[in-house]
């Protein structure tokens, strides 16, 4: 039995994961999605997949992840995360809907399908300052703050003219007056294994944008909301981003299906890669009583 590890770009995270599997004596089939040839007119063929017990997806592209994992699932393969989770987490509107269905607290959020309607919503529902985000996007890219009507008009026109088709769905949110930091909670299966604060002078606190990290203790509240958010999107190996609202308390911003964690190991003292590897192996029944079968 072996596991398939899907990754094209090998970041610090992928190296740590490969090391974790090696340390456990697991046979890993490394698959670069850029070189894959997968039949979709048949669910058979591709002998190299025959003895794969579980697939660990670490593709950096949302489109690749969602399609490739779905194709593998249709052959009956067990994938972490599942394509349903990837599709939900890769799209902020789907995430909001999943959180709403599970009554997980999130900031006031609206979707519009035209710039005119977006302005109406901003003027009459959300007010300023507000936040606009692409439904598909990450690392804080194109997350913009709309301080007033002028800013909103400018950003909305830019996205309508220069954006791609995914920007036709305009995702708008109340700006939460957070205390110079947000929270990222790592959830594996049912368990919140660690959390960090991400601090920045800038209101966008992604580490990809230079935010620094420190340990965040696991309060009952945080554990409850983060695990509910992970469950709401379908569960697996997930990172939940939250903000602290002075009035409403903890609110979930998004759930990430392909989390980066290199800056969180030292801050939390938790071997996140090891926890991830053990979870994946457990899905395949390859982990029994603390050891690899």
């Amino acid at each position: 039995m072996r596991i398939a590890f899907l990754a094209s770009r090998v970041r610090a995270e992928e190296k740590l994961l490969l090391e974790a599997y090696a340390a456990r004596g697991v046979d890993v089939l490394r698959v670069d999605p850029r070189r894959i040839d997968l039949r979709v007119d048949s669910l058979r063929g591709g002998a190299e997949w025959d003895d794969v017990a579980v697939v660990h997806d670490r593709s950096i592209s949302f489109a690749t992840s969602a399609h490739l994992v779905e194709a593998l699932e249709s052959r009956g393969m067990n994938c972490v995360n599942t394509s349903r989770v990837i599709r939900t987490c890769g799209d902020k509107m789907r995430t909001s809907l999943a959180l709403a269905r599970a009554a997980v607290p999130q900031p006031h959020t609206r979707v519009a399908f035209s710039p005119e309607q977006a302005l109406e919503i901003l003027e009459h529902e959300l007010g300023y300052p507000a936040v606009i985000k692409p439904t598909v996007g990450s690392w804080g890219r194109m997350v913009a703050r709309l301080n007033d009507r002028d800013a909103a008009e400018a950003v909305l026109e830019d996205r309508a003219v220069l954006g791609n088709w995914t920007h036709r769905t305009i995702y708008l949110q109340q700006l939460v007056d957070k205390p110079g930091r947000d929270i990222r909670a790592f959830v594996i299966g049912e368990q919140v294994i660690a959390a960090i604060h991400r601090h920045s002078e800038h209101w966008v606190t992604n580490t990809a944008r230079g935010a620094t990290t420190s340990n965040c203790s696991l309060s009952l509240d945080l554990v409850e909301i983060a695990s509910a958010a992970a469950k709401a999107v379908g569960g697996g190996i997930l990172a939940v981003d939250l903000v602290e609202d002075p009035q409403q308390g903890l609110l979930v911003l998004e759930v990430n299906h392909g989390m980066e964690f290199r800056n969180s190991i030292e801050a939390t003292g938790v071997d996140i890669a090891a926890e991830m590897a053990d979870f994946v192996l457990a899905q395949a029944g390859m982990l029994v009583g603390g050891g690899v079968r």
């Binding site: 990754a7 094209s8 770009r9 090998v10 970041r11 992928e14 190296k15 490969l18 490394r30 670069d32 950096i60 592209s61 949302f62 489109a63 890769g90 598909v136 996007g137 990450s138 690392w139 890219r141 791609n164 995914t166 990172a239 990430n256 299906h257 392909g258 989390m259 980066e260």
Partner: protein
Amino acid sequence: MSNCPTCEIAIAVPADAVEGEILACTGCDAELEVIQLDPPSLCLAPEMDEDWGE
């Protein structure tokens, strides 16, 4: 050793490198991808795409 495809400076590919790993060029700061280990070979890493992320 391999050379940066952009600035041609010689780059030492670490012994524990794996295929697909990203290295920063010491000469021009370009992101390089290890496309082969033996002998080591580097190419310019792909530009970030709109759907890339966590």
